[in-house]
């Protein structure tokens, strides 16, 4: 067994450890027993590791067990932390700095970090969710004087685990009837504040010349986020499985990257140069999205993919992707179950990688002339890999998704380019910005209208009430078997 294979197995067992603890609790005795077995195996067989055969296998098993135990233990600790609400019921009368603002239908949701002088809080980083009215508006870095009673975060409806969603970001408390008063600003990270304000200026250039809701789609395409779209339109997007075009996830970033490569080649670059071009594009994209952790993770995932493409090793870059996922989970194991963005990023990139050689051989070579076959296969493999995740998180399975993707994805990069030009000329020469806005409007109009029309089809999507986690496990096991068989077929074909 090759070293890289061994490494892969250990990483996988770590992932499985995180997965198992994310969904199930194992009794402490069993856990202890498992650890002891692993230790015994290790100490018995490690000294004789050099001898081939059973000893080597046993050592390997020990390491795999350790991977599992480590993942399990790490996740267990993080989950325990989220249940350890020591400040419950305490009245916070503190200064706090705004970390994140999101608009809701009722007003604004602020995530604030306490800046406390009192000894009991000073050594801890405490973030609190604060709901305030729509006006006055707050922004990142504002220093507030807050007074509120800390409560546990409530799940507002059963289908969405809001408490864990916030917990994975380190936010364990909410203040419902909190009071906030602004007493200062620019208390946040200077660079991050600059990026956010640059983004706001860019966005303003778009919404000034393109009417809503098309402007919301435009800024969603360029900077990520569907918050600017109304509920009805967001629903259309989710029914047709198109939400990914306005979300910064590995799925989206990878498709953007793929297009940048095609664009680079069309502009006359060599393939390797085009990949560099795309890498730069991804970095810009992630920065413009405001550098949220989710976008960074997405960028890393598709960066690996591009790197592998550049070196012509796309089909064997699973290890790198799983390695990146393992590092992300080691930093925050709660992502695996409670961060949709992470799930989509990881699975979509993995899907693209493991199926690439199959598509390459069976489909693309024969239909090279079509040009869009790459788009279709990319989209298809990503869809197959994220299907249960979407069903699990959003309780919907889009049947029309592939059709919508085929009709809309090919013009996404052009729309993005035009919107980008609208931004740029908004600064230099505004009449030209208007012209580009008209052209962009045409495409954006087509996208929203088509998505709306497709969403009206009676069988556009099926709603799924509740997915049992075992179905998901079964689905991915079957997928793994299919992939394995395909790989085996591939390997058999090569020697001929």
């Amino acid at each position: 067994m090759s070293k890289s294979r061994v490494f892969l197995f250990i990483l996988l067992s770590f992932l499985i450890g995180v997965f198992v603890r994310s969904f199930w609790q194992i009794g402490q005795n069993y856990f202890f027993l498992l650890s002891v077995v692993a230790l015994i195996l290790l100490f018995t067989f490690l000294p004789t590791y050099r001898q081939a055969g059973k000893n080597k296998f046993a050592t390997l098993v020990a390491f795999i067990l350790f991977g599992f135990i480590f993942g399990f233990w790490l996740t267990n600790g993080e989950i325990a932390k989220t249940n350890d609400l020591i400040f419950l019921g305490k009245n916070f009368e503190e200064n706090a700095v705004v970390q994140k603002v999101s608009q809701t239908t009722m007003g604004q949701n602020l995530i604030v970090e306490l800046r406390s002088e009192s000894a009991s809080l000073a050594d801890k980083k405490i973030s609190v969710l604060l709901s305030v009215p729509q006006y006055p508006e707050y922004q990142y870095g504002d220093l507030l004087e807050i007074s509120c009673k800390a409560m546990a975060i409530e799940n507002r409806d059963e289908s969405f685990d809001y408490r864990m969603y916030m917990a994975k970001e380190g936010v364990l408390y909410q203040c419902d009837k909190g009071k906030a008063k602004k007493i200062g600003e620019n208390q946040g990270n200077w660079i991050f504040a600059k990026i956010l304000s640059a983004r706001a200026i860019f966005e303003n250039k778009i919404i000034k010349v393109i009417p809503a809701p098309y402007s919301a789609l435009a800024s969603g395409l360029l900077f990520g986020g569907s918050g600017g779209l109304s509920k009805e339109i967001q629903k259309d997007f989710s029914v047709t499985g198109m939400t990914h075009i306005v979300a910064v996830s590995g799925y989206n970033v990878t498709i953007v990257a793929e297009y940048l490569i095609l664009l680079g080649i069309a502009l006359g670059l060599w393939r390797k140069q085009a990949i560099w071009f795309a890498l730069v594009g991804i970095v810009l994209f992630v920065v413009m999205a405001g550098l949220p952790a989710s976008a960074v993770r997405a960028g890393v995932m598709s960066g690996i993919l591009l790197w592998a493409m550049k070196n012509g090793r796309l089909a064997s870059s699973e290890n790198a992707i799983i390695f990146a996922a393992a590092i992300m989970l080691a930093l925050n194991p709660l992502l695996l179950r409670w961060d949709v963005g992470f799930q989509l990023s990881f699975l979509a990139t993995l899907g693209i990688v493991v199926t690439s050689s199959f598509w390459e051989k069976s489909f693309i070579k024969k239909n090279r002339a079509l040009g869009i076959s790459e788009v279709i296969t990319l989209s298809l493999s990503a869809q197959i890999f994220v299907l249960p995740i979407i069903a699990w998180n959003f309780h919907i399975a889009s049947l029309i998704s592939l059709l919508a993707n085929i009709f809309i994805l090919p013009i996404i990069p052009l729309s993005m380019l035009l919107v980008f030009l609208v931004c740029i000329f908004g600064f230099i020469f505004s009449p030209l910005s208007f012209i580009f806005a008209w052209l962009a409007f045409g495409l954006l109009f087509y996208e929203i209208k088509l998505i709306h029309v497709l969403a009206q089809f009676p069988w556009a999507s099926v709603s799924i009430e509740r997915v049992d986690v075992w179905w998901i496990v079964l689905y991915y096991c079957m997928l793994a078997v299919v992939i394995y068989l395909l790989k085996k077929m591939d390997d058999n074909i090569i020697p001929e």
């Binding site: 009417p211 098309y214 109304s230 069309a266 006359g268 208007f434 409007f441």
Partner: protein
């Protein structure tokens, strides 16, 4: 060589697209039609009067995002200007959406009374008016807005400057606007209460119109029988949200309207309500005899007991 050709084609295509767009703009400006749209903005009021590239917006509902989407639908996409905004009174459900409009659209002037509100929304609105250097015009009797085709919007109420600017009841000084398009007239009443209706009637102001925006989302403290007797509209429009917590529109008001043989159109039932005006006549595209709404004849015969209505 191949790339050059692509670039040339690209440019030709872009030029063609721009040509088509310009053609559309010119065509649209040549034959301006006046449109009155009662926007479905949930529990709140917003009415857009649009003729070619000239717009008048009366109130803005409470949700900016929703209002902007609606405006994007009815204002041509190249037009980023709303010439005039009328703020009938500073209540959340009438001004909430206007803040985003001021941020994104060019607005020449805003008509409002001197009425104040201590809500944060009102403060923000006033800030935005100052920041964008929008001309403030005091809304009182005699202020008119003229459209190119000759249509005129005229403020009927308040008669004088509001003096009780911090008074409790903002509805008391709700701006009332009459729009005259050829032979047809519209009356926009904001949240105008019955007490003020009587004052308006006593003053002898001509309020006889074809189309009435029912005051205060169909609240029972407005739209009295006496008022309806004089106004005698053929259609009444109620801007209201489905299952709102205020119980609007009130059953008594609906009965009063039916007794006066008025067709009722509600934004919570039909969405945006559009009146298109051409050749001095305004018509709506909505059909009245929908399953929940009886036809006019039926309404007359069974008006006293409208059990089939709700």
């Amino acid at each position: 060589m191949r790339n050059n050709r692509k670039i040339v084609y690209g440019f030709l295509l872009a030029a063609l697209a721009i040509g088509v767009i310009l053609f559309c703009i010119i065509q649209n400006n040549k034959t301006p039609k006046l449109e009155v749209v009662f926007l479905d903005v949930g529990q709140g009021d917003s009415i857009l009067i649009s003729e070619g590239s000239q717009q008048l917006l009366i109130d803005g509902g409470k949700d900016g995002k929703l209002l902007l989407e609606k405006l994007g639908k009815y204002i041509p996409f190249w037009d980023r200007n709303i010439e005039t905004i009328i703020e009938t009174h500073p209540d959340q459900d009438h001004i909430g959406g206007l803040i985003d409009v001021l941020k994104l659209y060019g607005v020449n002037s805003i008509l409002e009374t001197k009425m104040q509100s201590d809500s944060q929304t009102f403060k923000k609105l006033e800030d935005e008016i100052l920041k964008n250097k929008i001309e403030k015009i005091e809304a009182k009797k005699g202020v008119t807005i003229k459209f190119v085709s000759g249509a005129v919007a005229e403020v009927l109420y308040p008669f004088e400057s509001v003096t009780d600017v911090n008074g409790g009841d903002t509805n008391m000084y709700s701006v009332v606007v009459k729009l005259t398009v050829g032979d047809n007239k519209f009356l926009f009443t904001g949240d105008f209460p019955t007490t003020q209706e009587n004052i308006l009637l006593e003053s002898g102001t001509d309020v006889k119109v074809n189309f009435l925006k029912v005051a205060h989302h169909g609240s029972k403290y407005a739209t009295s029988n006496a008022f309806l007797d004089v106004v005698s509209p053929s259609d009444a429009i109620i801007s209201v949200a489905k299952n709102n917590s205020y119980g609007h529109p009130n059953q008594e008001v609906l009965q009063r309207l039916l007794q006066h043989r008025v067709n009722i159109l509600r934004t919570d039932e039909v969405g945006d309500i559009v009146y298109k005006c051409q050749n001095l006549k305004c018509v709506t595209i909505h059909l009245f005899p929908t399953p929940t709404q009886p036809s006019k004849e039926k309404a007359i015969s069974e008006a006293p007991k409208p059990k089939f209505l709700f």
